[in-house]
């Protein structure tokens, strides 16, 4: 049996699954500043009548790190960067940053050496200001981490108790500014995240659960709770990712679905293409920071059930702000929820108040309450449908660097429109009609997030880049860099090396059983030619376990 838990800002949702069926669900209002209590309550309420020994796996998703960052409740971090030549970085030229000598190029060759004097000076200044957390980040460090190691060692030598994070570990993709921010956030949240991990372990211990424990990542995969301590930033936006996977689990396998999560003031759109959730093409922005963390592609539309509606002249306008509850629930202004109530599409709220809200709006424009309600619903549907179209267009227009990518046909429209969230029932059928899909309102939609967590598969990815001219290779996800020590080293050997790396990683994390079907998602070979001679090859290879869900639940909740 699997348990999925989503720790949100106000609620903790939990679900217990057994053989593809939902056994029980729970919604617990969080006890402020006491994560442990909320977790134990959630476990107790889904585990009634179940013995702890039957639990095979527990998967959690959490908004904790997201909220820490958005509310800027993380610790101050001193920044040591080696940007070398290139773009001017106005953004970092402030008091808490030291720009050090040292530069590496795109092939990992040293251009400018590190100046240790500068590092010592920086340590002194950070010390004087009271810092004990430092991020060390160099441009092109994923291609050669020597400078970062050198600087980090110096810091450790002089300040053994400081927490030092390096860019090639925290942000292995090629994007220096994002690497800087990702490293800073990793450094700033680790200690606080440890509290989360401890609370989870304690809660499970209290209930004698010895199952494997995983945590959701932003991209819909999972990692072990233990390994997540190294990269807490990977858990940001794991909540929306869990909802998307939940919606996927509640619909039929292999289909193309649009997930519409209609909340109070926003509607989140996500896409599942032939059974695979769509990833965003770039890392996510959290607070004011651009990270290297890839998430599922979720588009937020600023309209929801509690949005304020006003009549301006003869035109209805929906505002993105929330001014309280819908009128039918005692709020101050008319909202789309009131319109749904008048049209009999929701039972939420007081019918008389809903009619009152609509007739108030219609008075000046000479419209009946029903007309007003219809117009509001149309307006909401219009707004969402327009953004759905945009979402598909954006996906079709994503940059392409290879001929086959340009020529590949990308015109797809969803078979299903899956509604989750409070306002879904009223709007989703109409949205589906407009875009020609089948509306799906799955059962358990209100705990789709916890279901998504429970069914999420552990995922591992290894991105390897080997440069045979320099006889080096690196593994992006682990920040590992080493010498190639097998000969000959052709594409086959390179692929084998990447796969071995993946398998070793899986067994270290105790998920070797997930390695049956390894996908090769990138296989590129570049000839390095100098003076008309081939002097080496660059292999760029990415292997991964399939992302997605363990199984589907129920018949899919299709409405006919």
């Amino acid at each position: 049996m699997y348990i999925g838990i989503d720790v949100g800002g106000t609620c903790t949702d939990a679900v217990l699954l057994s053989e593809g069926k939902v056994r029980s669900t729970a919604k617990i209002y969080n006890t402020p500043n006491n994560l442990l209590t909320s977790l134990v309550q959630a476990l107790d309420s889904v585990m009634k009548g179940v013995s702890a020994g039957d639990i095979e796996r527990v998967v959690l998703s959490t908004t904790m790190i997201t909220n820490l960052i958005v509310e800027r409740k993380y610790d101050p971090v001193g920044l040591l960067i080696m940007p070398g030549p290139g773009r001017k970085l106005e953004h970092y030229r402030n008091a808490d940053v030291h720009i050090l000598s040292g530069a590496i190029d795109y092939r990992g060759r040293e251009i400018i050496p590190v100046n240790e004097e500068e590092v010592l000076q920086a340590i002194k200044e950070f010390d004087a200001k009271g810092y004990n957390k430092v991020a060390v980040v160099g441009k092109f460090s994923p291609r050669n981490n020597r400078h970062e190691l050198q600087v980090a060692e110096l810091v450790k030598k002089h300040k053994p108790h400081w927490q030092v994070e390096m860019g090639h570990r925290a942000g292995g993709q090629l994007n220096f500014p994002r690497r800087v921010d990702t490293t800073v956030l990793t450094c700033a949240t680790k200690e606080k995240y440890r509290y989360f991990v401890q609370s989870v372990n304690e809660a499970l211990k209290k209930r004698d659960i010895k199952a494997q424990v995983f945590i959701m990542k932003a991209d819909g995969g999972t990692m072990t709770l233990e390994s997540s301590e190294q990269s807490p930033v990977e858990t940001i936006f794991s909540g929306p990712a869990a909802s998307t996977l939940g919606a996927q689990a509640l619909t039929a396998a292999g289909e193309t679905s649009l997930v519409v999560d209609i909340g109070g003031t926003t509607t989140d759109l996500a896409l599942i293409l032939s059974g695979k959730p769509l990833l965003s093409s770039k890392g996510v922005m959290v607070g004011d920071k651009l990270t290297q963390v890839r998430t599922l592609a979720v588009k937020s539309v600023p309209v929801g059930g509690d949005s304020v509606v006003e009549m301006v002249g003869k035109e209805l306008i929906i505002y993105s702000e929330r001014m309280g509850q819908p009128y039918c629930l005692g709020g101050p202004f008319p909202t789309p929820t009131d319109a749904l109530n008048v049209m009999g599409l929701t039972r939420l709220g007081d019918k008389d108040r809903a009619w009152e809200a609509m007739s108030r709006l219609g008075k000046w424009a000479n419209m009946s309450p029903v007309e007003v309600a219809k117009n509001i619903i149309n307006l909401v549907v219009d707004t969402i449908v327009k953004e759905i179209e945009n979402m598909f267009l954006e996906w079709e227009q994503e940059p392409a660097y290879r001929i086959w990518e340009v020529m590949q046909k990308r015109r797809v429209r969803p078979q299903n429109v899956v509604g989750v969230g409070g306002g879904a029932a009223g709007f989703v059928p109409q949205i589906a009609i407009r875009i020609g899909g089948t509306p799906v309102l799955p059962p358990y939609a209100s705990v789709a997030n916890a279901i998504g967590a429970a069914v999420a598969r552990p995922t591992l990815q290894v991105t390897m880049r080997a440069d045979t001219e320099q006889n080096i290779f690196s593994i992006e996800e682990d920040g590992y860099q080493g010498k190639i020590n097998r000969s000959p080293f052709g594409f086959e050997q390179a692929l084998d090396l990447a796969k071995e790396w993946l398998i070793n990683k899986a067994s270290r994390m105790n998920i070797g059983d997930q390695m049956q079907d390894v996908e090769i998602t990138r296989r590129e070979v570049f000839n390095i030619v100098r003076d008309l001679k081939t002097t080496g090859k660059i292999y760029d290879i990415c292997v991964q376990t399939p992302r997605g869900i363990q199984w589907h639940i129920g018949a899919g909740g299709k409405l006919i």
Partner: protein, 451 residues
């Protein structure tokens, strides 16, 4: 509003002319690394677009491909040209102020008639855009500034008789480098005199002399011409580390030049120092287009005082500029009849060498020296291209501003050529109504495409 720059990056990681050819998969690999690592794609000023695929008709507006578009043009070429089209559309819509197509394969050696690949080029990306802009948006005056180390002989060939397209090319003197053309006396045909400007430069030119040419010649000419749209054929082989060119230009020099030229659209051409130049030059140009600070972009090993220009080079550059300034000032005194000796046609013989596959094309090009319009062009071309063997074709191009008489004469010439058994193919490009006709003698088939 903020300045916005569009980027189409199409490195064609799955295409090469041959595994160790300079036009291979690796060429823009390090440029990608540099651009990604700098995070420039996250700048609010920069919008990245996906390339589109240029249609055969869009290509036929600029070229006579022998025997047909599909025989000469690969998907890679269509995407590179399509990238430039996509950016030109975004510029015209006002979504972006300018754009940079960092694409391969390049195009500026591709001429009007295409029998094969020349100087790594099969179709001319800039010409495809010019014809697209004229047809779609009715733009009248367009300038192309070619800043590749090689003479843009293909672009010159296509617009030699077109007074509405100003072509300015500076390059290393043709006596010292491929393709061996681009001298100061190549100034355009009689109906387009001084709409072609060539600025041959001696080897060893540095940033300062380059900027001297831009300030004292290129910018004043552009100002007088008043183009509605400026395209930069942005070759990067003037770089001091380029293996093919012998110039001494730096990434800073390229950026400064771009800032001065203010092109609407820059299209990458040559540049084969794929490690020491391209990552830095591409980055510097992109930042310059976006109005960002590029002063920290320096190549490894380059430091102030490293690159010095020989004073003879400086003097020579000043002389070339002087000479062309004088020509430009007096251009209006030169008449059509002076240029063609009073005869009805102006004609020239051309031998065109296709260096990729080693064969030659012979051409007789005639332009109707009309006093009331740019005239039409007749090209009698034969070549023994490896694909189809010896083949002679007649190609007729009608300018979009041709007068009624010229249109009638050109169509008459087309019907005559169809009767002439010597031509295996007869082509007619009528830019007044955007039609393109191909006639194949073999089976007497004729087909047309329309925009």
């Amino acid at each position: 509003m903020k300045k916005r720059t569009g980027l189409v990056f199409f490195p064609a990681f799955d295409w090469s002319i041959a595994p160790i050819h300079p036009e291979r998969e690796e060429r823009l690999l390090y440029t990608r690394d540099q651009i990604f690592e700098e995070g420039v794609l996250d700048l609010p000023e920069i919008i990245e677009y996906r390339p589109q695929v240029a249609t055969p008709h869009e290509i036929a507006r600029a070229h006579f491909c022998v025997p047909g578009v599909d025989d000469q043009v690969l998907v890679a070429h269509r995407i590179a040209a399509g990238a430039a089209i996509r950016l030109s559309d975004r510029i015209m819509s006002g979504e972006i102020n300018n754009g940079f197509a960092i694409v391969r394969p390049p195009g500026h050696h591709a001429m009007r008639v295409v029998h094969g690949n020349r100087g790594f080029c099969s179709i001319n990306n800039e010409a495809v855009v010019v014809e697209h802009l004229r047809r779609t948006y009715g733009i009248k005056r367009i300038a192309i500034v070619d800043t590749d180390v090689h003479h843009g002989d293909g672009t010159q060939d296509i617009y030699y008789h077109d007074p509405d397209v100003l072509f300015i090319s500076f390059h290393q003197d043709g006596r010292t480098i491929f393709p061996g053309t681009g001298f100061t006396d190549e100034l355009g045909g009689p109906t387009a005199y001084a709409a072609t400007i060539n600025i041959p430069l001696p080897p060893g030119v540095t940033d300062s002399s380059l900027l001297y040419v831009i300030d004292n010649l290129v910018l004043p000419i552009l100002k007088d011409f008043e183009p509605e749209f400026v395209i930069n054929s942005a070759g990067q082989d003037n770089h001091f580390t380029d293996p093919l060119g012998s110039m001494l230009i730096t990434a800073q020099g390229y950026a400064r030049m771009t800032e001065k030229l203010k092109p609407d659209l820059a299209v990458l051409e040559g540049g084969y120092a794929i490690e020491s130049a391209l990552p830095y030059v591409n980055l510097a140009i992109l930042l310059a287009l976006a109005g960002r600070d590029y002063s920290y972009v320096t190549e490894p090993g380059n430091h102030p005082g490293k690159i010095v220009e020989n004073s003879q080079v400086t003097n020579y550059v000043h002389q070339v500029v002087d000479q062309l300034q004088q020509m430009w000032d007096k251009r209006k005194d030169v008449t059509v009849s002076q240029l063609c000796g009073g005869s009805k046609y102006y004609q020239r013989h051309k031998n065109i060498f296709y260096d990729t596959e080693y064969f030659e094309e012979k051409q007789l090009e005639k332009v109707r020296a009309c006093v009331s319009c740019p005239g039409y062009v007749l090209i009698d071309s034969h070549a023994a291209q490896p694909k189809i063997g010896r083949c002679r074709v007649m190609a007729i191009s009608i300018h979009n501003r041709c007068c009624k008489n010229c249109i009638a004469e050109a169509w008459e010439a087309y019907y005559e050529a169809k009767k002439d058994y010597r031509y295996s193919y007869v082509y007619l490009q009528d830019k007044t109504d955007d039609t393109f006709i191909t006639f194949r003698r073999d089976d007497q088939k004729e087909w047309r495409t329309e925009g």
